[in-house]
Amino acid sequence: MKLAEVLSVLEGKLITCEADLGEEVKMACGADLMSDVLAFTHAGTLLMTGLTNPQVVRTAEMAGIVAIVFVRGKLPPPETIALAEEKHIPLLASRYTMYESCGRLYATGLPSCGLFKLTADAWSKADADCTEQREISQDL
């Protein structure tokens, strides 16, 4: 999905001056925990967040995030914008809440970052054990 399309779906606005709205995002994630972003995102991801400090841009740079969307119509402070412009990471603002922003984009077919699946795989075993126990207790 092109950034221009993201903007129109979120009825948002572009914050940084220079940005190529033809740039493609392959998937998206919504997070306010930067460690989660570092842990789970792929290169080519669109990040939606409610945090507006410069560390969001740092995190995006490290994780290979294509662009950042600030939800709930929030606008970041100048230092965040300055760092984003230096690192050529487009900043966008969404008119909607985190939940609705994600929902709107997901509905258009933009997938979630695949790496989250890995954590899910890790607890499938534990989950199976739980289900088994629940079944046993129901039997009793």
Binding site: D32, L33, M34, S35, D36, L38, A39, A43, T49, L51, N53, P54, Q55, V56, R58, T59, E61, M62, A63, G64, E79, K87
Partner: protein, 316 residues
């Protein structure tokens, strides 16, 4: 004849802006003193035309400035000599035949001034003076062309050097074990600059030609480690990266406060970070886990009151 109306030129201003050639740029950038001939053959006003003719012939030049007591008083060209010869005035002096109203250029003007002046006046050469009016050189259109070509060549060579990727370093420098060590000092509590070291390291790896996936792992490890130094280390610390052709070792060292229980610190979600850090989106007890997940070797050593040393190896 084709006349250019103002409308013609204003039709595509942005396009003409973009199409400024390197040469056009240079004409504005280069100063006249960079392209002029500094060694100037001058003549005295008392010199007879017959002698001047020989001077021009021997030195293969077509004109010379005329100096009297070090002051520029005129200019004389081969054309003036020819005219004098035609009239049979071979024994006349330079002073009688020279052009007195001399057009000059300033040495600190850009070459474009010279180009314009040559175009307007149609002269073959113009003396160059400094702001005190002293003659410092002479300029012909040939000098301009040569100067531009020389500068183009210099720029080209510089670009070649710039294009020389740092990735050759490991092929060019041979030893039994070549490593590149990058050290970054990390300040305590300075959250606004947190990530600068990791950012520089990431860029260095990109320049060295590392694969994007590996660069990402190194970036995450170093950024998390840097964040830990900023948040926890009492007096900051050092982030060190040793880059080898097939692996990179990242070491983060600080001098306290140290971790009471490293086992516990490695549990996902365990954190001692203060609230102000959490508000910034960090300190959720994921950092060390992230580092471990991205590394091939992981070692965390700490002693309360002494300090912490984190060593990580990432295979490239």
């Amino acid at each position: 004849m084709e006349l250019k109306t103002p409308a013609d030129t204003s039709a595509a201003p942005s396009r003409s802006c973009l199409e400024v050639t390197k040469l056009q740029e240079l004409v504005y950038e280069l100063k006249i003193e960079q392209v002029m001939t500094k060694k100037v053959l001058t003549v005295s006003p008392d010199e007879p035309i017959s002698r001047l003719k020989e001077l021009l012939r021997i030195n293969r030049i077509s004109g010379a400035p005329v100096l009297k007591d070090g002051e520029l008083v005129g200019i004389i060209s081969i054309e003036d000599v020819l005219k004098a010869l035609e009239k049979g005035e071979i024994s006349a002096t330079v002073a009688e035949k020279m052009t007195r109203d001399v057009q000059t250029l300033f040495s600190d003007e850009s070459v474009i001034q010279a180009v314009t002046k040559f175009g307007r006046l149609g002269f073959g050469r113009l003396p160059v003076v400094n702001r005190d009016g002293k003659l410092v050189g002479i300029l012909t259109q040939g000098d301009i062309a040569r100067g531009l070509l020389r500068q183009l060549e210099l720029d080209y060579r510089e670009e070649e050097i710039h294009r020389y990727r740092a990735s050759h370093i490991f092929e060019d420098i041979v030893s039994d074990q070549t490593g590149l060590i990058l050290r970054y000092q990390v300040k305590a509590r300075d959250f606004s600059r947190c990530g600068e070291a990791a950012s520089k390291l990431k860029r260095a790896l990109e320049r060295l030609g590392a694969m994007p996936a590996e660069v990402r792992r190194v970036a995450v490890v170093s950024y998390e480690a840097e964040t830990n130094l900023v948040i926890h280390a009492t007096s900051g610390g050092e982030l060190l990266a040793e880059i080898q052709p097939e692996k990179i070792r990242i070491i983060a060292v600080d001098r306290g406060p140290g971790i009471a229980d490293t086992e516990k610190a490695l549990q996902p979600g365990y954190s001692t970070a203060p609230d102000w850090i959490r508000e910034l989106g960090f300190g959720a007890g994921m950092g060390l886990n992230n580092i471990k997940a991205c590394s091939d070797q992981f070692r965390l050593e700490s002693k309360l009151g002494v300090g912490t040393r984190l060593e990580v190896v990432i295979q490239l």
